[in-house]
Point group: D3
């Protein structure tokens, strides 16, 4: 039995274990699938195909309503690769959207995905805004069975304009689409953006900026 | 006013008009969107952005049940770029799947897309098979609210195993995923594949092959 | 000489001429270059390689300061594929950024590009914010010769924190990166977003929302 | 010398060693090459470039005939990234195809590659079938020196229609194209697909389905 | 019958007809195939699928030896998308290489493709050189049935080191790989590169540079 | 405390530590960023996002002139992913180019990137050469503020044709564009290319080839 000086190896092993998600791209595949195999603190690579099972491609619970008791009156339940490891490398994911009457899913964007939304229940006002210099606003009122597309990277929102809850399914063209809620990112960043930047950018009083930063 | 010999130009114009879909790839985008602008017999390029309107990103009718009165007892209603022109270049699409009790959506594959399926109503047996040499069969019974993934290019199927109709929404990672139903492609091709090829490949009697070819 | 009824062909030709940008993707190339060949109202495809000349790959004037006499005190001069047709299909572009003392390049994002910025003159505070749920703010003060990276799709800004003008060169990983200035898109969209959506989303008084909408 | 409790580290190390192929995409490259470096039970990443040698880009034996003594009378010899590690990340591979007189390479498809085939010896009937709804069958008889293309994801086959052995070289547009032989996947999956699904899908007697399942 | 002023339309039509290849990218596909439909002076888009036939996927003559009676003693016969229109958008192509005894296929590179070469006849010395700063030279002598890989964008060469003709098949990972023969590009460009640049770059006498420029 | 036989684990660990760069592709991203986390001898994966800081996106010193005291009179200072780890997976990088009067940046190419160059100081002759068979030479004299594009994979060069130093910033469409200097790769490879190959390819005396090989 060899006795070995581990003091040299250990820091390297611990560093390795502190690293995170390995896959940085999602276009085309190199094998039938590559189920995420999470290792304790982060590193994830393909699970041994022999150990993959049907449950790796399965997620349940999308029939359950999200809790919309919050200031904006809406809740998004994601089914991304972190929730459904079989999605890894496959370039698609889902989310369930619940919106209480007059609630909104506030202006946000997905930096890595187009969204295609299907209304299952309720009446929904939706809209997206194009990039500079036009900043055109495309908007539409949707009913049950209606489908609408929000192109990748554009700011969009949804509002329940009926008397019943809205339920919608959104499909997204990435396994990890990302979400940037405008208000949170601009006024709720950690650490905060200097109010000087925001005062100049939005031409608002420092009081309003401070109020906004306290809200988010 | 110039009078010009059109007999040289016309054949070229007519040839141009008989050509079809211009966009051959779907990865990343070069503008906010590129709504398909169909020209009579085929050529399609981006519609002038100034003429694009909210309806170009809209599709309605996905709440309506498909007609399952056919031998396999199922019906797929596609919402691909040909049905929803705003999807062009955006790499995603949808379909509604209706299956009558004990009906099947027969073994098929999508050459250009992964599918992620959500069960809205009913009880569904689903499965997919991996490539050679393992040809492993992953299968699962799904209830309302369950989600399952069928990786790109793999043969898969669904079967209603309950007493009520199944309704499911499938999202697909391409604007034009393509569908190859195995039975139709192998036994129902036009013109037919020589029965000699099929007899040898499937080690079946010529009678059975001929029967299959008459069915599809 | 054939005399031909043009009344059938003309509408098709005119439709064709009203269409816009053909190239919807930018990853890899299929020829040495594909210089944009603009046709009157939009359609653009590769210019005949025999007619391509060195000037198609050339742009001049990036040594000239932009005019920063505007409320935010900054000016961006783009060198995208629309300004430099030789960039078409090649996946890269540039911009010159001028910022007057205490001016800002307001929070914005590029839906299709990472930005790498080099400071040529002056002292610059820069920052970007990551996506939900962390919304982490990475910020740094830069001097002449410093370089900073703003990852694709993330909100970022720059502010001149010195007493002299700032001059910077930004390189972007797309021929047409797109720019979404948050304030303009959210408060200055055409037509405007219902103030109801914004009141709920930002938890602000309708008066403030109306004020913001009048500013942008 | 530090004495360390390995009982915490070992499970993590063993899990790491049970994981498989790291590379999940193949489009463009980030270095001159990335030769696969297999680690015992699976994980593979780029071999240290300093240790790479000419033999990593080399494979021999493609002049040797494959053994066609099997029910279908054909044999495919792959030169994919698993056989030739230098192909990793480079998006191309090869195969030699041997077919005895009247043998077939049965209907199959490559989920991740287009195939371009060159006949070196013999006379070959080839064909492929397009996707739904047309399922058009393109077929051609080939001689020595003839080349034919099978587009990505479409079902295709080859049959020797001469009196001599056929030898062909197929090039494929992926380092790991994948092969799905229709008969094996549908009737020979492990575990088997319920005969109920196949009876309904192919409108065949349960006896014929059972016979087919016993064959594959 | 409408009489219309064509003098406005004609220049636009003629411009359109002078444009060239439309497809600038080749990654993934959006339909089963997109056969190139050449229009007189260049523009090419997908041929109407209904008019596509098996011959669009077919090329013949690769069994015929190329003529190696030239200073370098070698000849390459390409089967790219311009020779085989069915290859359009499919990301792969072929070439036959003939080299007379002691002839060379001079140092060159393919800007858009990896090459995988199979020796059909003869004995071949092959090599490629990596990028700066190592410029490592990987070299190998090949016999019949040997396969070698030349990674995308790297300079490589082949030399017949036997007494018989060499015949090889090269597969390339692009429908239009491009070829840059170093000698021709550096010393035979049109118009020539100033000899001042080459004298400085290669630290050679102006006489040798002039001699080289006269040769290519 | 378990005592474990490390003699089995160690070789595997050491092999793992001798491997290099994990990321082989750069197209689209799967998370906001993936900062390179170098592990001793090579393996690099995403740094734990929680440990990422602003400095990971920062590089300084591009205002400092490179040392041009060398035979070609020029110096390139790279800011690639190896110098600026935050660039990993983001598809862009920079370089500063210094050229003394009458110095040249010798003919070279970037196998993985298009270059867009901005002149900050001085007067510069630039050129690139297209692929076979045309080998067209596009050339232009540039002044301060001028911009020029060198398409991916094509041979190009720059020469200072003024009396002052030239300073230019080049942006490149890859995080690791690669550089192949023609002279170094052809005449300075390690080990050298047989002079027989070069004599035949360049139709030069063995003496000149030997002289060139001694120079590089």
């Amino acid at each position: 039995m060899a006795i070995i000086n581990l003091s040299l190896l250990l820091p390297i092993l611990l560093l390795a274990l502190s690293l995170s998600v390995v896959f940085a791209v999602d276009p085309s595949t190199l094998q039938d699938f590559c189920v995420t195999a999470p290792i304790s603190q982060g590193t994830s690579i393909c699970k041994d195909p022999k150990l993959v099972e049907a449950n790796d491609f399965f997620f349940s619970g999308l029939h359950l309503a999200g809790n919309t008791s919050n200031p904006v009156g809406s809740k998004v339940t994601p089914v991304f690769a972190s929730q459904l490891p079989g999605l890894n490398t496959l370039g698609i994911s889902l989310a369930r959207i619940d919106i209480a009457p007059w609630g909104v899913n506030p202006p946000h964007l997905h930096p890595r995905a187009t969204e295609i939304l299907t209304v299952l229940e309720g009446t929904l006002e939706v809209g997206f805004i194009t990039s500079n210099p036009e900043n055109r606003h495309f908007t539409k009122n949707l009913q049950k069975g209606d489908v609408f597309v929000f192109p990748i990277g554009l700011i969009h929102y949804q509002r329940n304009i009926g008397y019943d809850n809205v339920v919608a399914i959104a499909a997204l063209s990435s396994q990890n689409p990302g979400v940037i809620t405008i208000g949170n990112a601009v006024f709720g960043a950690t650490p905060v953006i200097s109010s000087g930047v925001l005062v100049k950018a939005f031409q608002l009083d420092r009081t309003v900026i401070n109020y906004l930063q306290s809200k988010f």
